[in-house]
Symmetry: C4
Subunit: 245 residues, 4 copies
Amino acid sequence: MKNIVFIEGLPGIGLIGKLAAEHLIQETDAKKFAELYSPHFPHQALVKEDATLRLMKNKFYHGTIGDIDLVILVGDTQPSPSNSYGHYEIVTKILEYLMPFGISRIFTLGGYSTGGEVVEKPRVLGAVSHADLVEEYKDSGITFRDDPGAAIVGASGLLLAMGRQTEIRGVCLLGESPGYMYIDAKAAKSVLEVLSSILGITIDMTALEERAEETENLIKKIQDMQRKSMAQNVPEMSKDLGYIR
Amino acid sequence: MKNIVFIEGLPGIGLIGKLAAEHLIQETDAKKFAELYSPHFPHQALVKEDATLRLMKNKFYHGTIGDIDLVILVGDTQPSPSNSYGHYEIVTKILEYLMPFGISRIFTLGGYSTGGEVVEKPRVLGAVSHADLVEEYKDSGITFRDDPGAAIVGASGLLLAMGRQTEIRGVCLLGESPGYMYIDAKAAKSVLEVLSSILGITIDMTALEERAEETENLIKKIQDMQRKSMAQNVPEMSKDLGYIR
Amino acid sequence: MKNIVFIEGLPGIGLIGKLAAEHLIQETDAKKFAELYSPHFPHQALVKEDATLRLMKNKFYHGTIGDIDLVILVGDTQPSPSNSYGHYEIVTKILEYLMPFGISRIFTLGGYSTGGEVVEKPRVLGAVSHADLVEEYKDSGITFRDDPGAAIVGASGLLLAMGRQTEIRGVCLLGESPGYMYIDAKAAKSVLEVLSSILGITIDMTALEERAEETENLIKKIQDMQRKSMAQNVPEMSKDLGYIR
Amino acid sequence: MKNIVFIEGLPGIGLIGKLAAEHLIQETDAKKFAELYSPHFPHQALVKEDATLRLMKNKFYHGTIGDIDLVILVGDTQPSPSNSYGHYEIVTKILEYLMPFGISRIFTLGGYSTGGEVVEKPRVLGAVSHADLVEEYKDSGITFRDDPGAAIVGASGLLLAMGRQTEIRGVCLLGESPGYMYIDAKAAKSVLEVLSSILGITIDMTALEERAEETENLIKKIQDMQRKSMAQNVPEMSKDLGYIR
């Protein structure tokens, strides 16, 4: 591999990064080559379609487009928001794992909450690891941030900020989105459009829109399941009744 | 020991797994052979009937039914719900301890909340470590889950998901239950019926029903005690007044 | 030292254990011989009367009454209630430190909340490390608990439950108290009366009552100070405004 | 360097310490010579004016006034308030780093909340590492505390309390302030006036007042941005939707 591009799409606002990265995996027929498990992930097992259980994990995929090798990171979760230490540890492990590959560029994908405001055509807001990248990508449809003090939480921010100190260069691409309880395929599409323009590739977006619709349905189903859910929830029990002999 | 079956029944929804596993211990006259202590358990001592104090713990029992050796795990508690790291650590220790025994099958017992809905005849929902086990157990009265995305929290999920990676094969059995503040002997009975059918054994359920009644009374007594409780609660004091000299 | 009795009086319900232990220090003119610091204690410095700052700590005192050597543990705080790991670590360190002394008996002092109910003559409820101690101390004015399932939180419970496994024998003495926001000298007096009866010593309680009154005044002063307090509180600031350059 | 004075101004009440220390950096034209990163800091990257991302950090500056060498510590954040362990670790690292320099005096700067009460002329309240320093600084405009039991949270308190045990001598200077959601340049000015009187230096306060005004404007802007913010917030998503495949 020579021209290796690393793309991160872990869960975040509107699942935008995750949707975009998974679509890219599908469209480039990328193959999983590594998995990341951590005791900093939620202590639960997920039920698969064949009724088997698996741990929560992050996954590395490898795909190619032209002469570009894509390494794509997606996954079920990031550490809990109260566990800063876990976030730093996992991002460090990811970078240590990637360093030997010789990553030429990193793109972290995510969302940017408008605070509920619905946007007709979501902008893609950007931040970079090195200042000269603004110049390099200024014609790629990215709105570079000029609000000093803004913060990018989790892997999308840490990978670039830590990568900067290890000479990994890259851009964070955040699609504008009304916010949380909403799977935002429209914003994911905007992010992918910018990314494909940068990489000089063409991505069919049809499946992304269908996927978004399916996902919305799945979410409704899951929210419905939450009351009558399979989740064996330990906390309340162990606190209130766990000391019964 | 040749045909060794491991059964987990730590506290969870409706104390279903704990009730079922403790009943099995009683009915098979199983003997305790090991204890698990952890700094990830709540920092409190429990008062026993003879007024002695003991640490919170998990316990391993050994019993036999026919040619089956049962290793049964029960206990006072699991780590607190905010401590994912502790959950992973304890499940890892349990598996490390069990591996040398050569476990042939693992059953984790628990509850599945219907979100308050009372069910006449609780179903037993299942998930497996390996897909072929669905076929093996399809006539055992288990409703195998087909809701991808559902999660099983704590030891019942993690033991199977982690066991899968160490070639320990097994099934998670979850009895339907209205939910939390309720000791659900009916669901525990359903779970035990499935388990005894699988193991080809007969278990007298009379004591389980009596036990459930006793437990309900004990709970009321304990809830009553909570206000005028022996619990030496440290937090508020140390925060507000602890710095007085 | 031959007949060494260890007494724990760290902060808890009604500061009963702390008040009792500090009174005993005063009355026996015990001398501080060791201090315990921990990163599991609150991250704050305390202002002393001479305007100097010191870390939060626990303190070991040595006193003698007749042929009894007293080792008394008091302090500013215990770890935060969400930090079970810290509680276990500190109690382990305390026991490791004490073991070489050859402790012949341990008494942990604390409170037992009645849930607000004011009691005319507070009982002293007890629990033991070894069952035969109930017989030994049955005429000492202790009401031994027979509520299986009750829990004693923090050092008072853990020291005895862990000490049990290291052959340190002892009793937990809990004075009945209406509960939290109340410095309960009356309950502390009850606890000390039981303890002095056990140790066969006489303790002047006058100062304890005066001390309690002073403490109540100090608390009011401190509560008053909390709004206009010297506390340099970091959290809110660092979360909301800390990212300003 | 011979006469080395260490000044801490990390974020706290009213950002008083931070404002004062940053003004001192500006006025003495101090230069950054070291940075401190920690996995105990919030897991987010900050966007700089040039759209580059950087980790949260603390920074050490070196400046000179006359024959005094100033080492000034400022930064974006302290560990989260629930992470006592992180606070102790970072303060320990800071002291270990500073010890070889041979610090002759340490001043920690911060705020003291009046609980909302606006003060015309903020007093500067003080506490010391060693009792004789009260005498030394009694004519410097410091009101030394005589409220035993008061606590100073975070680095301002810990540095002096821990420094005391490593023979680093110093004073904590806290400007009176109405409290939290308020950038208090007036209190910062009071603190700097005391500090410059002690150090025998003159500091132009004009820029501090302007700076405070700018900061207030920036805060309004940031608060406004919070709804439509760039923050890629992970928690809610990963908890509710993160387990979608």
